[in-house]
């Protein structure tokens, strides 16, 4: 019974979140101001040709720094877990 209630709740929540999306046309989001801005000014403001790389490494440099740090810490965690599994190899 508990499981049925859980599944029903999840289904209702999913339907609630998905309902507004179903009516949208593909490729036409409501706000495109930022896209237009990056495409128009990306080259002159960052000096790079690839707009995606411009966004990742210049406009959103902090985000990339966080990603790199997350990867670093992930390796730290994997090392901590697996080092002690068999004989404590470093």
């Amino acid at each position: 019974m508990k499981r049925v209630i859980m599944a029903a709740t999840v289904a209702v929540l999913l339907a609630g979140f998905l309902a507004p999306v179903i009516g949208l046309d593909f490729g036409e989001p409501a706000y495109t101001d930022m896209d237009e801005y990056f495409v128009q000014h990306g080259q002159e403001q960052t000096g790079g040709n690839n707009i995606v790389t411009d966004v990742v490494f210049d406009f959103r440099g902090f985000d990339t720094l966080g990603e790199a740090t997350v990867l670093f810490v992930a390796v730290l965690g994997v090392g901590l877990v697996f080092r002690t599994l068999r004989g404590g190899e470093t």
Binding site: Q43, G48, T53, D58, A74, R86
Partner: protein
Amino acid sequence: MRMSKVVRTAADILFPFVLIFGFYIVVHGHLTPGGGFQGGAVIATAIVLLIAAYGYDAIARRITKDALRNTEALGLIAFIATALVALALGAGFFYNWLAGTGLLFGMPVGFGPNPGDLNTGGTIPLMNLAVGIEVLGALSLIVLYMLSGTQEAA
């Protein structure tokens, strides 16, 4: 545990090409799809290919975890240092201080659609390289750590 001679020979032949393809993705990150993360993953795949063909023990003796750890830390430090140089020059953190100066990667970019030149982009290619070095160290290190903790390594 190493695989048969066929697999080992195929890995030997494929290894340099996978490496070159990975470095190509990293270096051309500011011109073509891809970049540091993707190229670093491809290079780590080459190392994993060697491990799959020759077994953990043979590879872990040559590519040590210490070296990969240092590689990973070096990449992250280089990435942060590139961003910090902008502060030393009096601009904001992550400012593109190399673009348009005429130095390495410093050629001014042509506006509008153009085929692109490798010698543009300022700090973006440098950061791509740093992130590529970090990702290649991190992903191969994860595989080595996981193998060292499982039955396969024994």
